[in-house]
Amino acid sequence: MTTTEDRPAPSSPAPAGPAALLPRTRARGVVRANRVVLALVGLLMTAAGAAALAAAFGLFGSRFSDRPVIDEPVTRFVDASPWFWAAVAVAGGLLALLCLWWLLAQGRSDRVAELPLARDARRGHTDLDAAALTGAVEDEVEGYRGVTRARAGLSGASTAPLLSLTVTLDGRVGAGELHTRIVDSALAHARQAVGRPDLPARIELVLPRGGRRDVR
């Protein structure tokens, strides 16, 4: 037997802001660049495949499909153009440079390594190692009941950082309850440490498959 029941979404006053977001990334520009370049590669492959099929099925003339892929006029053109191979070499060099830029871009991120705490021309500067702050936040959150792992990071600009926190839960404590505790304790302590009471934060709660199950 199978029974199905629908339950409408719990009704609550709709707060401002989006109900769902894309997963967080430390390299939004790289994600966008990858998407654009791969779409262009796909477009080029599609166009090349479609053009070759059009040639094969006689869309460029019935006799064209029986011609070799590189036929005489092409060979004559290459032989008559002394600049042709130089242009090919330049194109190859440009391709290599573009691909190298694309490869190096994959390692980019907006991670913040240090936070300026004090700037004084006479007394000098005081910077806080971001790892010290994120390590303390991770240790505090991992000490909460219901948390198996916490990973923190600072991103954005050192003058306007964003604290990112990924918290893996074990299911013993509700996500809503842990959210409140993280904001009221760990985040409040982090804000106090850096002297920024308005330090923005993005917290991702993760409940993996498996792990602890309720004992009945």
């Binding site: 719990p10 477009l43 290599a96």
Partner: protein, 178 residues
């Protein structure tokens, strides 16, 4: 998709860089009237001079290019699904999210905590969540009662998350008589 894009980007960037450098090397080597270093451009050009556009192998390559290119293009143009559900926060500077996968785990755990439920499977999206509850009991009335209890538990778990917009929950109870 981002991970797939990143891996594909690295592979294509490495391949493109190597190919570009090799093209420059081969052009220079050919200008010096020396044999090819790596790229077999002579045999490839010869093969292209021998085969017409209508040759089976040329058509097969064209179809392969078209299919792969279309798949890549559509995958990149497809709108990315928003999978991180936002929790209500009293602090406007804090955004807390729970992935739809994690929400499915929350619903499964709430349902399996119900006495009489053997197992539960859930799938969640931003607007809709489906929970399938398996009850190994013969009595249909008892199955319906356990199903309702599992649904109440799942709904309570969903409400306790305080999502900005909770998805509509659909629960299916399956009788699995032993």
């Amino acid at each position: 998709m981002r991970t797939f894009d990143r891996v594909l980007a690295v592979l294509l960037a490495v391949a493109g860089s190597l190919f570009g450098v090799l093209v420059v090397v081969e052009v220079v080597v050919a200008a010096l009237e020396r044999p090819a270093v790596v790229l077999p451009h002579g045999p490839v050009a010869g093969w292209l001079r021998e085969n017409p556009w209508s040759a089976g192998i040329v058509i097969a390559i064209a179809v392969g290019l078209l299919v792969l290119g279309l798949a890549l293009l559509l995958a990149e143009l497809k709108r990315r699904r928003r999978t991180e559900l936002v929790l209500v926060s009293s602090d406007p500077a804090v955004t807390t999210t729970l992935s739809t996968r994690s929400l499915a785990r929350v619903l499964e755990r709430a349902a399996t905590a119900t006495p009489g439920v053997e197992r539960a499977e859930a799938r969640a999206r931003a607007r809709r969540a489906r929970l399938s509850v398996h009850v190994p009991v013969r009595d249909p009335a008892e199955v319906a009662r356990i199903g309702r209890e599992a649904q109440d538990n799942a709904t309570a778990a969903l409400e306790s998350l305080h999502l900005r917009a909770a998805p509509r929950l659909r629960v299916r109870t399956r009788q699995e008589a032993r």
